[in-house]
Symmetry: C2
Subunit: 346 residues, 2 copies
């Protein structure tokens, strides 16, 4: 792959592109029949540990859609699982932790990760993918807050009461936990980059549950440390969370080259909040893809216009592809986005 001619990598740096690059969060996954066919018997974590399977799953949407980037088939709990935190990914629910973290003594369970030993399958998957791909490969990790929320709540949460109680009532433990999780994310991301990942996305999926004050004080410092470590490698950094419209400037300032935006915030508003030094990624409502091609295309046209006004735009959904999505709608959307003429914009 010639990095110099990748629209995706150029857009990450707000450099000129010959077409708007596009990929989809969860482009590999349950919406694809070819995914359901080959993952039928394996759990998600087992599939991740099988480089041949993980490669194939990563490649499926690249073949089918012609997207401008691949994203490694893995999960944000992969590193935690690899160092012995009991975790299972329950279909339709998400990661479930066998023994949730509740006190300072639990932090010792987060030993340093040695990616070559603990997650050799991730490294092998990336190396194999690099030989097969002619588009950039995105590696990723969970940001400290979001991983902490799973460890503390024991699984997906609605109100994050235990997580917020810990941060507000025991700062030393909270920051020690953030510190370990930042180290975990850094080691994982750097090993992915060394193996060949061309860009990384740091998922702080649930940061949108926090007020600006809580995010700034309790979360941003650890995230900034992760993004700085990745930045030192020269690798492009995308940072994304759901419902983070109020945090976009803080997330950009934490050290993102690209800020992911969900559909609740218009790219116009996002642009005003983060300024012109960061690219934007987003932000089609995944439910509109389920609604059908024409609703999705109409909204995509608006989004492309807004993105063009910002400069530095990677098209994506505002959250992951929903399982009930018709892959043909996504395929047609990619065609539409690739053929869209920015000079025709209003």
């Amino acid at each position: 792959m010639e990095k110099s001619v990748s629209p995706f990598l150029n857009a990450c740096r707000c450099e000129p592109v010959d077409h708007v690059p596009v990929w989809f969060m969860r482009q590999a996954g349950r919406s694809l029949p070819e995914y359901r066919a080959i993952r039928a018997s394996a759990s998600i974590l087992d599939a991740i540990k099988n480089p041949e399977l993980a490669c194939e799953i990563t490649l499926q949407p690249v073949r089918r859609y012609g997207v401008d980037a691949a994203i490694l088939f893995s999960d944000i709990v992969t590193p935690a699982a690899a160092i012995g935190i009991g975790v299972e990914i329950v279909p339709g629910r998400g990661p479930v932790i066998a023994e949730p973290f509740r006190s300072a003594s639990d932090i010792a369970r987060l030993r340093p990760i040695e990616p070559e030993i603990d997650t050799p399958y991730v490294i092998e998957t990336i190396r194999t993918l690099k030989r097969a791909l002619d588009v950039p490969l995105i590696g990723f990790a969970g940001a400290p807050f979001t991983v902490a929320s799973y460890l503390i709540e024991g699984g997906p949460s609605r109100n994050f009461t235990h997580t917020k109680a810990l941060m507000h009532t025991d700062e030393p433990t909270w920051f020690a936990l953030m510190d370990r999780l930042a180290d975990l994310a850094i080691a994982s991301l750097v090993s992915q980059i060394e193996a060949g990942a061309d860009a990384i996305q740091l998922f702080d999926s649930w940061a949108g549950s926090l007020s600006r004050r809580d995010y700034s004080y309790f979360v941003k410092p650890a995230t900034a440390r992760v993004l700085a470590a990745v930045g030192a490698t020269g690798c492009a950094r995308i940072h994304f969370g759901v419902g983070t419209g109020e945090l976009l400037d803080l997330m950009a300032d934490a050290g993102a080259d690209v800020v992911g935006v969900d559909w609740r915030t218009s790219l116009t508003d996002a642009s005003a909040r983060i300024g012109r030094h960061h690219a934007l990624q987003g932000n089609l409502d995944p439910a509109l893809v389920v609604a059908g091609y024409e609703p999705a295309r109409r909204e995509t046209e608006h989004i492309l216009r807004e993105g063009a006004r910002h400069g530095g735009h990677i098209f994506n959904l505002g959250h992951g592809v929903l399982p009930e999505t018709d892959p043909d709608v996504l395929a047609r959307l990619v065609e539409y986005i690739h053929s869209w003429d920015p000079d025709g914009r209003q």
Copy 2:
């Protein structure tokens, strides 16, 4: 009750107050042992239909906390249930619809409501409450979009795919549905006001799932019609949804006197977005109340300062009281808010 001396009603109109008024969404409910004691045997919808029980539940938090307003014990699906839409409120889940709406023919199921005949218990509860209360009583209804989302999805939803598909693929049906639901909300609210409600809150709880474009085109017109009908009575109108930071100006413009804000959006940002002609309500993270008094008080102090800078501020949580909340923390918070000295603000 002397309306002229109600800090709550004054704040609704951005008029001077001698202390910041406070009430809590879901102040009546599972967090109170006295509520759990008397509702033990009755379903929520049965309790709503029992004026004696509904009055007592409405009064419990007023007695315990000394809040500046009571909110009628009812539910946003009460009118729909009363006209024969099969609905059950499942504890821990929410309203579940026996036969979800999926096509144009379902709209006929929403016949006009006659509140004196269909919900006489609501009217009786309000009349009884008015004799017992010395603070204003807030009536309420669900906004057309949020009620539609329950009818269409069949219950609480994560992605609102069926609802969004209907609005984007069958506009005539969508707008016919919005129209019926607006009529339902208007009839219910006007009857509550005639019975004695001093203010109303229109809950568009899930509007935050919509982009600005979708909200403006598909939702705002019906909401504006409801708020205009209430405005014609002279009754103060609060409008609230969760995660609606990006929609606050549109929700204010739909005809709200008071705009409810959740904790994700600072009152400072909310103030900048809606301007000085609307009061603000909010916006303490309910999880911080679960964390304990001191975390909640610290954040409350920030919020009170931001609210004072706006002018016209009703203190509230950013969403409902969580079931695991310690009522003593809320009681102490009310004391703190009532004794807070705005002249000490920064």
